[in-house]
């Protein structure tokens, strides 16, 4: 039976790595030639580097090609054709979808997709959902404000493609969404980790519904790293009584990575659709071996309207030395996306990744899910304030919770914090990407 098939496409997902690399080279040659011939932006970039399509004969040749930064894409879209600029590879009448980046790191970048690209988005997500156990009998509820952000749009289309029944939970408030999930006995959800926890909180505290009594048995997360942060994943799984899976993607890249049902502590890179390279943040040297972190340079091998060729994503990742028990030959990145090169900041001379604070806070039982970090200066000295909420049931245990939190923060970040306890429910709640880290120092 189709539903019993383990892989979305065994031809690709079990292809030996040597052949994967051969496939990637062929596909890279094709997308490079396409971008070179159809985009003024790419043509100028490669002309300046004196690289032509016929020069690309090996993976080593690919590494000589200039990378593309997000800031370059912002400059590009000031040019014609409006509003995308000259990275566009197709006539405007071929563009059928507009999306834009969230603007977390600056001015949003507009993204054009043809209908073929849109099919491709759904195809990439089909690999994700099938690997996470979605099947035609699933009823998938998507509590997402369908808008200009790509977020779960492609998850919606992929769920349809797989054959699931999709319930768009667009313009409903959180309580109404939970009641709809209950009414329809939805079996799967897609949301950001922040919203997954927020929904559970609303269900328990406003509706007196235990999310574990609902029919939801799997949740796919995106938008934030939480589903790969062990303490956050544990909180979500315990709150919902469901398996929680991570995936990684970006508007200008596509959905390039996914956790499978084996939950191996990392995510598979879809190496048939994307070429992922890891480079040393300081030296730019390519990291081929497992166990060394670097930033990701990525190529979407089949994207047509606005190609993504050697894009500097700033995501920090590392190859996992272990194969996955699921049998997929697509390599794993250990622990998922562990940070961003432009997120990791120096505080008191120590490198601090915001995800390490999340891991500490969410690992302390008496604390609520929300928190906020503010870095500023006390004279010349960096100061970090961590605002947390004590759960109502832990009100009498503030001292021991504080003690545990201080210990966990020291172990995980090697830094000291001013910890402020706030009333439960008083810190900001988010539906999409949370903004919990605020650096108020000059120049940050």
């Amino acid at each position: 039976m189709l539903a019993d098939q383990k892989y979305w496409n065994p031809l690709l997902e079990t292809l030996p790595l040597r052949k994967v690399k051969e496939l990637q080279l062929r596909k890279f040659q094709r997308i490079f030639k396409w971008a070179f011939e159809h985009s003024k932006f790419h043509r100028a970039l490669y002309d300046r580097a004196s690289i032509r399509p016929e020069d690309i004969r090996s993976h080593e040749d690919i590494r000589r090609i200039p990378t593309v930064e997000k800031s370059m894409m912002r400059d590009v879209q000031r040019k014609d054709p409006f509003p995308y600029g000259d990275a566009l590879c197709v006539p405007l009448e071929e563009v059928s979808e507009f999306r834009q980046t969230s603007g977390t790191t600056g001015q949003p970048v507009y993204q054009a997709d043809t209908w073929q690209d849109w099919e491709w988005w759904a195809e990439c997500w089909s690999f994700i959902l099938w690997a996470q156990g979605y099947r035609p009998l699933d009823r998938v509820f998507i509590p997402f404000g369908y808008n200009v952000f790509v977020a779960f749009w492609a998850g919606h289309y992929a769920a349809e493609k797989i054959g699931c029944e999709v319930v768009p939970g667009g313009v409903l408030d959180t309580a109404a969404r939970i009641l709809k999930i209950q009414e329809l006995r939805a079996t799967a959800l897609m949301a950001t980790p922040t919203y997954v926890l927020g929904m559970a909180d609303t269900a328990v505290n406003k509706l007196s519904i235990d999310p574990r009594t609902l029919a939801v048995n799997k949740i796919t997360c995106a938008g934030e790293p939480g589903a790969s942060v062990p303490s956050t994943k544990k909180r979500m799984e315990e709150a919902w009584g469901a398996k929680v899976f991570d995936h990684a993607g970006a508007t200008e890249i596509g959905a390039w990575s996914y956790e499978c049902a084996a939950q191996p502590g990392g995510m598979h890179v879809n190496e048939a659709m994307f070429l992922v390279e890891i480079v040393d943040v300081e030296t730019g040297e390519i990291i081929d071996e497992p166990g060394r972190q670097g930033k990701m340079i990525i190529t979407a091998l089949d994207r047509q309207a606005q190609p993504c060729v050697r894009f500097d994503s700033k995501d920090i990742i590392e190859w996992d030395p272990e194969p996955c028990p699921c049998g997929r030959s697509f390599r794993l990145i250990k622990g998922g996306v562990v940070g961003r090169a432009d997120d990791i900041t120096k505080v008191k001379g120590v490198l601090l990744a915001p995800s390490a604070i999340e891991e500490a806070v969410r690992g302390v039982a008496g604390l609520g899910d929300e928190y906020e970090v503010v870095v500023d200066k006390d004279g010349d000295i960096d100061r970090i304030t961590l605002r947390v909420e004590l759960r109502p049931e832990a009100l009498g245990q503030a001292d021991s919770v504080n003690h545990t939190l201080v210990d966990q923060l020291r172990i995980k970040t090697n830094l000291r914090y001013n910890i402020e306890f706030h009333d439960y429910g008083s810190l900001p709640r988010y539906e999409v990407k949370a903004k919990r880290f605020k650096d108020l120092r000059r120049g940050h």
Binding site: N9, P10, L11, L12, T14, L15, K19, E22, L23, R26, K27, T114, W115, Q116, W118, E119, W120, E123, A272, M273, D302
Partner: protein, 62 residues
Amino acid sequence: MNPEVNTEKMDHLIQEMKRIAREVELAGGEIPAVVRNVKRLMASIKMLEINVSDVSGILKTT
């Protein structure tokens, strides 16, 4: 993998579908309902090429 899967045969059939879709588009002249639906069909055929045709030759190499 299913041993009876013949990727070369599948690729051949996919290319046939593509050829036929183009013929339908030509035969439809300027009828929007034909042209636009063939466009969508071609996007789906491209996904079959990504899943089968692109890898078919590579599966044969040693």
